[in-house]
């Protein structure tokens, strides 16, 4: 079967790519699109390392077919910083040692960003349940949760 042609928007840029009908969005990102910041930890939607947003909705790119990107807008970890200016979450993760090996970090940041867009003042419980789909085996989540809450505080202050 011939490959399928997909036109979409990734990190604000128009993008075209070819894929097999069975390819996941994660396959397309990591393959033809060369965006390897999204990671495959399970391919079953359980670890969240491949988290991206699809029209501002948080999804596991391993559970989405690549052809479903047609006509939509995707955001990946590669689009989070602006040049050398890190997003406040990225900066806070660095300052607060909220990463160790780093394999879950892309997904954690994308998911945390999606949370803060919806809820600028999440409680600890809200952060914990929102991130419950993002496995981290290194940190015990403590510093991640603190970093997200502290970033939320700072972003609210900055917005005032």
């Amino acid at each position: 079967m011939a490959k399928l042609h997909v036109s979409t928007t990734i990190n604000g840029e128009p993008v075209e790519f070819l894929c097999e009908p069975s390819d996941t969005m994660l396959d397309a990102l990591r393959g033809p699109l060369g965006l390897t910041g999204s990671k495959e930890g399970c391919a079953s939607g359980d670890c969240g390392a491949c988290s991206i947003t699809l029209d501002d909705r948080l999804v596991c790119s391993c559970l989405m077919l690549a052809v479903e990107a047609e006509g939509h807008a995707l955001q990946t970890i590669e689009g989070m910083a602006h040049g050398d200016k890190l997003h406040p979450l990225q900066q806070k993760f660095l300052e607060m040692a909220a990463l160790q090996c780093g394999i879950c970090t892309s997904g954690m940041l994308v998911a945390s960003d999606a949370l803060l867009r919806k809820n600028s003042k999440p409680s600890e419980e809200e952060v914990r349940f929102w991130l419950a789909g993002n496995l981290c085996r290194c940190t015990g989540y403590d510093k991640i949760v603190r970093a997200v809450m502290e970033t939320a505080d700072e972003m609210r202050e900055a917005a005032q």
Binding site: T36, I77, A97, G102, T139
Partner: protein, 753 residues
């Protein structure tokens, strides 16, 4: 020895050198690299727990368009079973049989053959076309079944006490005479425990990319806990000399011990050599769960005797640890560590290595020690109850101190175990009120820590900055700590120090990242290299000033004339001296390669609060405080991170994680949905208290910190559940069905169903 005293960077929470790459998705992990002409490798795995391989016919697979190479055991170098060839703690006899089944398939998931093809889909299809004739054999999974007199024997060549057996070895640690000790005891508690195999649970599956030239020159990109281990094992298993293999360490997405051996690299190398194309292999999560090493399931019996005043007089432990299908369980950690926090005159700890048709175990954070400590620390809790003593007071009364002779051999130098107990006892957590169905437990733990071989090269760049190269993959922030140390010694901003991990062609031999050894060992070689550089810089300044090098001191990143010349010359900065290097003797750099010594063991004491839901049987950890003697916290953020990560893994081990086998001898939960690791909403904040008793044998006082925090957790949780419910559990995991059964009793459960 502790040479660093001014503390500008040591103890600072600096930004890690690899941080920006990891928050932007730029960091290259094992599966993130591609090459022109690259093809894909896949492994055909055994569906049977135990089967003789009568024949393998690969002709149909090889004929499939797109298939470029097929390999099986005949392509892997054989290490005959009668002669041991050790590489570190691994025996190549077992490694060669683990990477590819030789005479027999020994567990479901055991590699039988591997294929390389132009696409992953073709490689998978080709695996299906390989015809394997098996003679299915009786199999055995659990310890009791494996050591029963009529058990199916995995290896005819393995004998125990003169008879064919699944017991692969016995290990004993002894001090005094336990019979004499127990005769003096006034109170004795003896209990038996079981634990289930648990996986390290790294989020990054094993992956590699290998290219082999026509001249056999081989390049391996993979994530592992040791590029030199990858090189050596691949060389052994493929016959390519080590000097022809360049192993490049990718960023590693978690290891926890599980990436201290190879699975894919030798197969990809053989496929690349045969096909003439670079070969990439990436495991699925299911393959990781079926075919890579969890840590052992176990059964153990621990007996401790004490006087009425709480003085422990004797302790005995018998530990059966599963090895998987090939010998090598972590008995050393169980028998060596479990009683080590205590000064006990009579100790006997015996461990047995038990084989069964499971995947070969691999190291997991303080291998063996958490299994032993779980039993010992639960028995101590019962002993404290019997003696009507506070459990921390019982531990304080018997705590190992400087001068205590550990049963496994050494006499402890200055150690911080007592300090961890005191800090736990005075922590507000220990006296905080508890609600209904809540309980509190404590437990302690010990890990040996380790030194061993490390290499470092420190170079000053022409613009006066610093590049440090070491040979240890960084799993938890070691680069950040090395930057702190080097900046401290040179007296410059830490941002001027780049820390890189060299590959096997660019840095000297460095042993595995494991055993909590990396910062201990690499700090020594980095310190010695930096000291050499400082000596060179002082000599050059002395030459410029025409004074004695002894009369130059290095301070705040510059050479200063010291008395009697103090103040006579303007200081010469690192940048100025670097600029003058070409005319002053050439490049400035130094390297040190060393077998480091002086690693001292680590101790921790944990306090855990739980709340039990009696309707659902769910145990929630609601508060946790981990106290640990960390020696010196070079980067406190990552020391805390190690402690918190270890605790989280322990909570998973205690409450949910286990390999579940079905009736046909296969793992029934080979994915993250059913193998239930703690998620963010399962855990509370994990408080840490870093007690700093510097290691007197280390320039910065460093002790390993990574392993200790897993050791006490399961017992702390179990003791807390007892405190909440008044009932004791003797097996892990204490998952909802198990907890419900204990709360309601088996009859009630059956009636309800």
């Amino acid at each position: 020895m502790n040479v660093v005293t001014n503390n500008k960077w040591i103890g600072e929470r600096t930004i890690r050198p690899d941080g920006a790459d990891k928050v932007t998705g730029r960091a290259a992990f094992a599966a993130d690299t591609n090459m022109p002409g690259m093809i894909w490798g896949k492994v055909l795995r055994s569906p049977h727990p135990h089967a003789r391989i009568k024949s393998i016919d690969t002709s149909k697979a090889e004929a499939l368009p797109g298939v470029k190479a097929v390999v099986s055991a005949r392509d892997v170098v054989d290490f005959p079973v009668d002669k041991s060839v050790m590489l570190g703690i691994q025996d190549m006899r077992w490694m060669c049989r683990n990477v590819m089944a030789r005479e027999k398939a020994l567990f479901p998931g055991h590699p039988i053959a591997a294929v390389a093809a132009t696409t992953e889909a073709i490689a998978a299809k080709a695996c299906e076309l390989i015809e394997v004739e098996y003679e299915v054999l009786p199999w055995v999974i659990e310890i009791d079944d494996a050591i029963a007199p009529d058990a199916p024997i995995l290896h005819d060549f393995m004998k125990f006490e003169g008879k064919p057996s699944n017991i692969g070895g016995r290990l004993e640690v002894k001090k005094g005479d336990v019979a004499e000790g127990f005769a003096q005891a006034e109170v004795i508690v003896e209990r038996s425990f079981t634990t289930r195999p648990v996986h390290q649970g790294y989020i990054e599956p094993h992956a590699c990319l290998v290219s082999v030239g026509a001249d056999n020159k081989t390049t391996i990109w993979s994530s592992s806990q040791g590029q030199f281990m990858v090189r050596a094992m691949t060389a052994y298993l493929t016959g390519i000399p080590q000097s022809d293999i360049r192993a490049i360490p990718a960023e590693i997405g978690g290891g926890f011990g599980g990436k201290t051996i190879v699975y894919l690299e030798p197969l990809a190398t053989l496929l690349a050599k045969k096909s003439g194309r670079p070969v990439k292999m990436v495991m699925t999560r299911e393959e990781v769960m079926r075919a890579t090493g969890p840590t052992s399931g176990s059964k153990s019996t621990v007996k401790i005797g004490a006087k009425k005043d709480g003085t422990i007089v004797a302790a005995q432990g018998t530990f059966y640890l599963q090895a998987g299908a090939l010998p090598g369980s972590p008995n050393r950690g169980a028998v060596g560590c479990s009683f080590s926090p205590y000064d006990i005159p009579h100790v006997l700890a015996v461990g047995f290595d038990v084989l069964s048709n499971r995947s070969k175990v691999a190291a997991y954070r303080a291998p063996g020690a958490p299994i032993g400590a779980y039993a010992v620390e639960c028995v101590l809790d019962e002993l404290a109850e019997a003696l009507k003593m506070d459990p921390l007071d019982l531990r304080l009364k018997n705590a190992a101190r400087q001068g205590t002779k550990a049963a496994f051999g050494p006499v402890f130098p200055r150690i911080g175990y007592v300090e961890t107990l005191q800090a736990a006892k005075s922590h507000p957590h220990y006296s905080a009120p508890l609600g209904k169905l809540q309980g509190r437990g404590v437990a302690s733990g010990f890990w040996f820590n380790a030194g061993g071989e490390s290499s470092a090269q420190v170079n000053i760049t022409e613009d006066g900055n610093v590049v440090v190269t070491t040979g240890h993959p960084d799993v938890g922030g070691s680069r950040a700590a090395i930057a702190n140390i080097c900046a401290e010694l040179l007296g410059i901003d830490y941002k001027r120090v780049s820390v890189l991990i060299g590959d096997t062609a660019t840095i000297g031999f460095s042993n595995l990242t494991g055993g909590s050894r990396v910062l201990f060992a690499s700090a020594i070689v980095v310190t010695q290299s930096t000291d050499k550089i400082i000596a060179t810089l002082k000599e050059r300044a002395a030459k410029i000033w025409d004074i004695d090098p002894e009369a130059v001191k290095w301070e705040n990143g510059a050479a200063h004339p010291a008395s009697p010349n103090a103040g006579q010359f303007e200081p010469l900065t690192l940048a100025e001296l670097a600029a003058k290097a070409p005319s002053m003797g050439g490049p400035i750099g130094a390297g040190v390669q060393l077998n480091t010594e002086g690693a001292e063991g680590g101790f921790g004491t944990h306090i855990c609060d739980v709340e039990v839901d009696p309707e659902l049987g769910i145990v929630r950890v609601i508060r946790y405080t981990a106290v640990q003697d960390v020696g010196r916290a070079i980067h406190p953020g990552y020391v805390e991170g190690q402690i918190q990560g270890g605790v989280a893994q322990g909570i998973g081990w205690a409450l949910n994680e286990e390999y579940i086998y079905n009736k046909s001898g296969k793992v029934d939960n080979p994915g993250f949905l059913d193998y239930r690791m703690p998620v963010c909403s399962d855990l509370p904040m994990l408080d840490t208290v870093m007690v700093e008793v510097p290691n007197p044998k280390h320039p910065q006082g460093v002790k390993g910190v990574g392993e200790v925090p897993l050791v006490p957790v399961m017992a702390a949780v179990a003791n807390a559940i007892h405190n909440a419910l008044g009932k004791r559990f003797y097996s892990l995991p204490m998952s909802p069905p198990v907890v419900l059964e204990v709360i309601e009793g088996p009859e009630t459960r059956q009636a309800a169903e």
